[in-house]
């Protein structure tokens, strides 16, 4: 994890806030998807899951395996992440950027930061377990054929 990756994570967390706020304003906080749910609700749900997958893929693998559930497990209560949790995720992403920037500028030149690791574990604990699974699953690299 470095400051550039942390910034990319923050951008994705901001996108997640936007998607969740849109979903929540249209369908409420505890909406449960049904077979006859509107297409828009399904599409937003998909986008929200994809945003979480992207965030998970930016985290270091060891923190994905040890998520810290600081704020409970929202997926046991509802299907879709709520706005409060999405905002908490942005706050934690800010903390991660802070830790990375501090560590990279540290004149004492340490080689490892537990603060960066623990901030990532907290972010992993806020994501849906399926997103962590997605990020941990090795995907085959598609080799380009030489023309």
């Amino acid at each position: 994890m470095d400051a550039t990756t942390a910034r990319a994570l923050m951008n994705e967390a901001a996108r997640l806030i936007e998607l969740v706020a849109t979903f929540q304003s249209r369908y409420g906080r505890s909406y449960s998807l049904q077979l006859n749910s509107p297409k828009d609700a399904r599409a937003l749900h998909e986008d929200i899951l994809n945003a979480q997958n992207t965030i998970a893929a930016l985290l270091d693998a060891d923190t994905l395996e040890n998520p810290h559930h600081k704020l409970g497990q929202w997926w046991q209560r509802q299907e879709i992440i709520d706005l409060g949790m999405a905002q908490a995720l942005v706050n934690e992403a800010g903390h991660l950027i802070s830790c990375c920037a501090y560590f990279e500028a540290d004149p004492r030149g340490q080689s490892y930061s537990y603060a960066i690791r623990s901030a990532q574990s907290t972010i992993a604990g806020m994501l849906h377990p399926k997103s962590l699974e997605y990020a941990l699953t090795p995907r085959p690299v598609v080799a380009r054929q030489a023309s």
Binding site: A14, A21, Q24, S25, Q87, N91, S98, A101
Partner: protein, 147 residues
């Protein structure tokens, strides 16, 4: 306030969080700058001031002119460069602003959210150096040149 501006604001605040962390990492024991301070410290100070001016310019005029001074302390009375704690508080408000703006635009009851968007901006203004609010106010009141 619209979603694009709220995103830009969040990005600028993220940069400020980074600057505050770098300053704290390198010069945490020197809250005040002096003529003999290192060039990098002055550069970080200037960058933090420029970023705060950019944030102030993105806020709407009314909340910028009436910052909610009751919520946060005046960090500039104790130090020259914003501390990580205040920068994080600003980030939290920026996340809230993005959520409120999206909610207001996506919701049919959008008008009710107007006060939330205003209130969050007033909180953000209270966290910015008063000089940056003044500079932003001067910029917006300066007569525009024709042609």
């Amino acid at each position: 306030m619209n979603i694009t501006t709220a995103h830009t604001l969040l990005a600028a605040v993220t940069r400020l969080v980074e600057i505050a962390a770098i300053y704290q990492s390198c010069y945490g024991d020197s809250p005040r700058l002096k003529p003999g301070s290192p060039a990098q410290a002055w550069q970080l100070y200037q960058e933090s001031l420029d970023t705060q001016c950019a944030i102030a310019r993105l806020l709407e005029i009314a909340p910028r002119e009436q910052p909610n001074r009751g919520k946060y302390g005046a960090w500039w009375l104790r130090r020259d460069v914003i501390d990580s704690g205040s920068a994080h508080a600003l980030l939290e408000e920026a996340g809230h602003l993005l959520a409120s703006t999206v909610y207001a635009q996506a919701s049919a009851r959008g008008a009710d959210q107007g006060y939330a968007v205003y209130g969050v901006q007033a909180n953000m203004a209270a966290l910015l150096l008063p000089a940056s609010l003044q500079i932003a106010a001067d910029d917006s009141s300066a007569p525009r040149r024709a042609g």
